[in-house]
């Protein structure tokens, strides 16, 4: 897709490698993301998609290579980890809400402890975001009282409440019953138009095709193909991309 405006580079990843013991899970990943871009990452199970996302926000420590965030290496100490993670949020497959807190508290705690906002401001913005994901009326509920789709929407609100620049989604709908997938994807489609930079690992091919600016196909720890959704879904250059898509799309 020809972009007319020069975009600001958010991530620049060079030669990223991750080994778990002897097992090399990521090998020589090179990847960029620009401000406002929605990038979907697809690929077979075990290809390293989650590991890539977890390296990006340092939940997992890369073995080698560098991750530049606005040109600064996130591992050399120049970016405080806590500030960095507030800017680069994550939504997990298993939601990972705080079970000891209500929905509202889940969205407030980070703003107060990390962003040092006072309670009134934090609650006000938490409520704004809960409203955006359609969960405001459940603000007093505890996570275990919610359905999967509701939990995931709260998790998205919690991440948004930190007012991040980037959100990483790791298969946000994979743990959901089919009838709840739609409500979460709807929220994510809404977000994609707000200028938020999104890196989305997903098996929802329709979402990848319709919403993303770019699609990366991962295989065996490398990004085998990185192109616009039009090219990936209609005319992939890589034979394995083609094979993977025909397998998951079933034709």
């Amino acid at each position: 897709m020809a972009e007319t405006t020069a975009r600001e580079r958010v991530f620049d990843i060079h030669h990223l490698e991750k080994k778990f013991g002897e097992n090399t899970v990521l090998r020589d990943i090179n990847f960029t993301a620009d401000k406002g871009e929605v990038v979907c990452i697809i690929g077979a199970s075990g290809s390293g998609k989650s590991t890539l996302l977890r390296c990006i926000n340092l939940l997992t420590e890369p073995t080698s290579g560098e991750i530049l965030y606005h040109g600064r290496n996130i591992q050399d100490g120049s970016v405080p980890l806590s500030k960095y993670r507030a800017k680069v949020g994550m939504v997990f497959q298993q939601f990972n809400l705080f079970n000891n807190m209500t929905v509202l508290q889940n969205c407030v705690i980070g703003q107060m402890k990390v962003l040092k906002k006072n309670r009134a401001d934090a609650e006000k913005s938490a409520k704004d975001f809960l409203e955006r994901v359609g969960m405001l009326q459940y603000q007093e509920a505890k996570p275990k009282q919610l359905s999967g789709g509701q939990k995931q929407r709260v998790a998205i609100a919690r991440a948004l409440a930190m007012e991040p620049e980037v959100l990483l989604f790791d298969e946000p709908t994979s743990a959901l019953d089919p009838e709840m997938v739609g409500e979460v994807l709807r929220v994510m489609r809404g977000l994609a138009t707000t200028g938020l930079t999104m890196l989305v690992v997903t098996h929802e091919m329709a979402f990848a095709r319709d919403v993303s600016h770019r699609v990366c196909f991962m295989e065996n720890g490398v990004i085998a193909e990185d192109d616009t959704p039009e090219v990936i879904f209609t005319n992939p250059k890589n034979e394995r991309t083609r094979a993977f898509l025909s397998r998951v799309l079933g034709n």
């Binding site: 939940l59 980890l81 507030a86 705080f98 079970n99 000891n100 405001l136 009326q137 603000q139 509920a141």
Partner: protein
């Protein structure tokens, strides 16, 4: 004189000693459990600090040393009887103090002894909390300390409350060994009363009853706290669209009962 006569006689003459003993026992159990619990929390927090290769050498070194110290501490205090610990600490470290301080030494011994057990109990509680929640906290930038204090420990503490209560009950009973350094708790009082008339059976029955009343009461109180901590099972939906002005209470039937 019958059994009951002796019991009444001993109580009449020694009730202040027994009462004082009961107070001392309770004080040592409370202090020992609370301080031991705090030690356990601290040790658990430090032991779970994540280290990465990019951390400065000093931090990694200090943590390594601390963890080594904690491990030795836990192993030593769990592998030796508290009675012996009390004697070593009292005669080895505090013997030069006047005997006014035995109560303090007793509280010190019972606290660090309990701390060793609590460290393991808290660690078990922390491990029982799904690491996903820790990652959720990290992903919004919370520090290790914040994550532990606001997310992990509140849940871990709820889960280990029965074990903590158990430690409390054990402390009420095991503080009796501190009579070896002449702390005047219930067992010490019992021996005084028994010795006066050589009525060991009656005196020990009195001590039994005192211990039972104390442990039973404490157990009930802890149960009550556990129930309180579980909180309400219901929540209120504000301004539901289907029931406009409504405050609709939704019962949560799926996961009723205890965890």
């Amino acid at each position: 004189m019958t059994f009951w006569d002796w019991v009444v006689r001993l109580l009449q003459e020694y009730w202040p000693t027994f009462l004082w003993g009961a107070g001392t026992t309770l004080l040592m159990a409370v202090v020992g459990t609370i301080i031991g619990f705090l030690i356990g929390l601290l040790v658990a927090i430090v032991r779970t600090i994540p280290v990465s290769k990019s951390d400065p050498l000093l931090k990694r070194g200090v943590l390594k040393v601390l963890r080594g110290i904690f491990m030795v501490y836990i192993e030593v205090f769990r592998s030796t009887p508290m009675m012996v610990q009390a004697m070593v600490i009292y005669y080895g470290v505090f013997a030069s103090l006047s005997s006014d301080y035995v109560l303090w030494v007793g509280m010190f011994v019972i606290s660090i002894n309990t701390g060793a057990y609590m460290s393991e109990i808290v660690r078990g509680g922390v491990i029982s909390i799904d690491p996903g929640q820790t990652e959720g906290a990290q992903s919004i930038g919370m520090t290790h300390w914040q994550t532990m204090v606001h997310v992990v420990l509140p849940q871990a503490i709820r889960n280990i409350l029965p074990s903590v209560g158990n430690e409390f009950v054990v402390n009420i009973k095991d503080s009796s060994v501190l009579s070896v350094i002449t702390v005047s708790e219930v067992f010490f009082a019992m021996r005084m009363a028994a010795g006066a008339y050589v009525r060991f059976f009656e005196a020990s029955v009195i001590a039994c009853v005192i211990y039972f009343v104390m442990t039973f009461t404490v157990t009930r109180i802890l149960r009550y706290i556990e129930r309180r901590m579980d909180g309400p099972e219901n929540y209120v939906i504000h301004g539901s669209q289907t029931v406009p002005a409504a405050e609709l209470t939704v019962r949560q039937d799926l996961e009723g009962g205890e965890k």
